[in-house]
């Protein structure tokens, strides 16, 4: 698979390490009343979709940026690649 890095252009997926579902960007509020329940779901449960999947890849052997890749888990086709930091900031995270 080739990941089209927003800054570096097309890169071999072998340069990256894979973390998992991009919902990991949305860490729950540790002060919420049901924080334990929320953290259980955040840490352990996954939608594990067959189809379009948003996921986090780390460019370990490159510029060490985190990317948010939109990829189809049935065909391996990549339709979108964003910097994870851009997505996180747009979602209201500070970093």
């Amino acid at each position: 698979m080739i990941i089209n890095h927003p800054i570096l252009g097309p890169r071999d997926a072998a340069e990256f390490t894979y973390l998992g579902d991009a919902s990991l960007l949305n860490r729950p509020d540790w002060q919420a009343k049901d924080a334990a329940e929320q953290f259980y779901e955040y840490l352990y449960l996954r939608d594990n979709v067959a189809g379009v999947h948003r996921e986090l890849w780390y460019h370990e052997q490159g510029d060490r940026s985190w990317l948010l890749v939109t990829r189809n888990t049935l065909t391996h086709e990549i339709s979108k690649v964003e910097l994870a930091s851009d997505v996180a900031r747009a979602g209201g995270n500070s970093k």
Partner: protein, 416 residues
């Protein structure tokens, strides 16, 4: 029909005209007592033991394709019971004991071959960890034996003992481990289940679960609705897709694992050998092909095929430990979709929906578990309580903090 030496000789003399189909091809009935979704090794074993050991009648196995087309027919066929943790080891030892009697039990030649498994050790720390694991195995009634480098040299002179980075310092052997002909496991259980009256319905995809007031009433399929008192999901890599019909999110990710077979060679490898410094395992089939594999590709996927970087990685690991493998040509390779769980261990449990049961999360070690998984799932489905060796495999263990993490990797499925 029973297989026997007498029958083989008789058929040889009669022109082999007396062999019939090994199982029926029935139309689905409108209602069953128990429906198993998924005609892989685990689903067929479950149906077989439900009928044979737990006295259940009126059972169906629904398979979307043909039986044996999933992981049961795609794996590298290794069986063993060399686990460390108490939640796992008694279960896998129970499974190995069932393998030992399986062919007599279901009267089918599954080519169970206890040719032994050897896990190589390359550092002092790894030696300590493996000896500890061996002790854990012995405490649970399994066999384990630590071999020195000299002992291994006598048995496997072809290994790369003096590699500068990963010298072989010893290894943990389990002599009762080995290999089994994987397709024959599916066929043997299917035939046995069929003989006990189980309906095996192929080309019947489950497309939904009918749940009313918190009770599962049956399944929607590509061949219409089929009612059931109890429904057991047993679909390996497709677990999340089935359970999504009940709005249940699982602690599972689906990943692809690849397997490789070389051209046929004369016997060169005595048993199963695993590399301790990379991920690589190899054995030789009775046809002569070297059967080997390594790591997952590492990303979520439902495509039953992998990518080339993993092929390269597996072949490099093979060359590192067994340079002679470079002389063999690769004949075939393929992939299967694994249900990788968050702690690397499986789940056999009821769900919060009455009549809906779940079996999954076998990662890439579920073939060896086939007999015990079937037996324990049948126990749960028949009696509504877990078998004693499967009590740790609860669905809620992640919430309660009772993980069974053999490798100590945490909630990162692609590392288990």
């Amino acid at each position: 029909m029973r297989f026997s030496g007498f029958k083989v000789i008789k058929e040889a003399l009669m022109g082999h005209k007396g062999w019939g189909p090994q199982w029926r091809n029935p139309e689905p009935k409108p209602h069953y007592d128990i429906i198993i979704i998924g005609g892989g090794g685990h689903g067929l074993a479950t149906a077989y033991y439900l009928a044979k050991e737990f006295g259940q009648k009126n059972i169906a196995v629904l398979e979307k394709g043909w039986i044996g087309g999933g992981n049961v027919g795609r794996n590298t066929t290794i069986i063993r019971s060399n686990y460390l943790l108490d939640g796992n080891e008694p279960f896998y030892e129970f499974s190995l004991k069932l393998w030992e009697g399986l062919e007599q039990d279901f009267n089918y030649n599954a080519m169970v071959s206890q040719r032994g498994i050897l896990n190589l050790v390359h550092s002092d720390g790894q030696r300590d960890a493996f000896i500890r694991r061996g002790n854990g195995m012995i405490l649970n009634g399994a066999d384990a034996e630590y071999l020195t480098a000299e002992q291994i040299r006598a048995e496997c002179p072809f290994l790369n003992f003096d590699d500068a980075r990963f010298p072989i310092k010893g290894g943990l052997a389990q002599r009762r481990g080995g290999t089994v002909r994987h397709d024959a496991v599916a066929w043997g259980y299917a035939r046995g289940a069929d003989q006990h009256g189980v309906d095996i319905i192929q080309n019947c995809e489950v497309t939904g679960l009918r749940i009313e007031n918190g009770v599962c009433k049956g399944v929607e399929t590509s061949r219409g609705f089929i009612g059931a008192n109890k429904v057991g999901s047993c679909v390996a890599g497709s677990s999340s897709r089935i359970m999504a019909h009940a709005n249940i999110r699982l602690p599972i990710e689906s990943h692809v694992l690849q397997a490789f077979v070389s051209e046929g060679l004369k016997p060169v490898i005595p048993g199963v050998i695993t590399f301790g410094a990379g991920h690589f395992y190899v054995s030789q089939s009775d046809k002569g092909g070297l059967v080997f594999g390594g790591d997952l590709d590492g990303y979520n996927t439902y495509a039953q095929r992998g990518n080339l970087p993993t092929v390269e990685d597996v072949c490099e690991s093979g060359m590192a430990i067994m340079p002679m493998i470079g002389r063999a040509r690769l004949l075939r390779m393929w992939g299967g979709v694994m249900d990788m769980s968050m702690d690397g261990s499986p789940i056999i449990d009821k769900t919060h929906i009455d009549g809906l049961y779940f079996n999954g999360g076998w990662c890439y070690g579920g073939f060896k578990a086939t007999p015990a998984s079937g037996w324990c799932y049948a126990h749960l489905l028949a009696k509504d309580e877990p078998h004693e060796v499967a009590t740790a495999y609860r669905l809620d263990r992640f919430q309660r903090g009772h993980l069974i993490d053999e490798k100590g990797m945490g909630a990162q499925p692609n590392l288990h």
